[in-house]
């Protein structure tokens, strides 16, 4: 009975941390309410597992401890579950998320369960000594968890500016970067009317490589289409948004056809696109013998 309160504290703070980590925003993912229920239940189990770990050790109940390790491996399935769902959904998306984006999201779901487990563990550990210490450590853990949640956004690695959409014969350009060849005069007219060109200029060598990643570019296009809509339907390949790269300096030209043709909004949306962990490279940190 002496460990009941520490365990309750651990579960409570673990569950609160899962709640703060689970945000259903404009992307509507996890879907409300079914997806939320799944993840809150997982979060509760994770918090519980974390919270009982310390009392089990203190009681020298080694069987219980090994079972905890076994339970932890089950959370790997969370990633698999999320990946499969997202990949299935992505097939019917007009502007796809892209596999690297999905992989990043799935990883985030898994890692958050471990964070919850860790919160439960730390809180119950301190609660064993003093309830007040437990509360303080729980609150500190909530801040750590929150800090971990915020991912970097495009604003930190690149400048976003407007690019001029124009045609040279059938060839579509955004500023000086070739996008594609458009054969139909009617499509060209619609593009001139509705399309917006964006130039993403990377800040340094590292960001050039990050932006060159196809998954990162697809993530940008998906985000713009989700927030600002897309002038697009299936079977209209002429209007599919594209991102092309200037081979000389690594700038990315985006060709998009949003429903809202207001560049300020587009700029804000693109600036807040998350940088995919999988796209980040640090060539500047590598030893190149210089």
């Amino acid at each position: 009975m002496q460990y009941l309160l520490p365990v309750i504290m651990g579960v409570l703070f673990g569950f609160i941390s899962r709640l703060t980590l689970l945000r259903t925003d404009f992307r509507q993912y996890p879907t409300y309410p079914q997806g939320r229920i799944i993840h809150l239940s997982f979060g509760f189990i994770a918090a519980f597992i974390g919270a009982v770990a310390i009392p089990a050790v203190l009681e020298s109940d080694w069987t219980a401890v090994t079972f905890l390790g076994l339970a932890a491996t089950q959370f790997r399935d969370v990633r698999k579950m999320e990946r499969e769902t997202l990949e299935k959904i992505d097939e019917d998306e007009l502007v796809k998320r892209g596999t690297p984006f999905i992989e990043g999201m799935a990883q985030a779901f898994e890692s958050r369960n471990y964070l919850v487990m860790f919160t439960g563990l730390v809180t119950s550990l301190f609660s064993v000594y003093s309830i007040w210490l437990g509360i303080v450590s729980g609150i500190v853990m909530l801040f750590i968890v929150r800090k971990n949640m915020a991912s970097n956004v495009l604003l930190t690695i690149a400048q976003i500016s407007e690019g001029k959409i124009h045609f040279d014969g059938p060839t579509l350009y955004v500023d000086t970067i070739v996008i594609k060849n458009v054969g139909l005069e009617e499509s060209r007219k619609v593009i001139m009317e509705k399309a917006v060109g964006v130039i993403v200029t990377p800040n340094n060598e590292n960001s050039i490589v990050t932006l060159s990643h196809l998954g990162q570019r697809q993530a940008i296009l998906h985000q713009v289409a989700t927030v600002l809509g897309a002038y697009l339907d299936s079977g209209e390949p002429a209007f599919v948004p594209l991102a092309k790269r200037d081979l000389e300096d690594g700038r990315i030209a985006l060709f998009i056809m949003p429903r809202e043709k207001d560049f300020e909004q587009i700029q804000t949306v693109i600036e807040h696109v998350p940088i995919l962990d999988n796209a980040v490279r640090m060539p500047r940190k590598a030893d190149k013998g210089k």
Binding site: L184, E186, L214, A238
Partner: protein, 63 residues
Amino acid sequence: MSAQHAMIVAIVTTKRELLQGGGAPVFIVDDHKELQQTALTLEKIMDAATHEVNASTLILVAH
């Protein structure tokens, strides 16, 4: 964005004399207006993208 395999599904041209046979159906039309019109109709039917090779020839490509 995996590797793209593009395939020419149809060719629309005003220059009959350039024809040398080949793997895609060819639509021969009389003038520029008809060229654009035929390509537009085909694009809607095939859900393909129209590209301009030169002023007299358009190709429809399935991406």
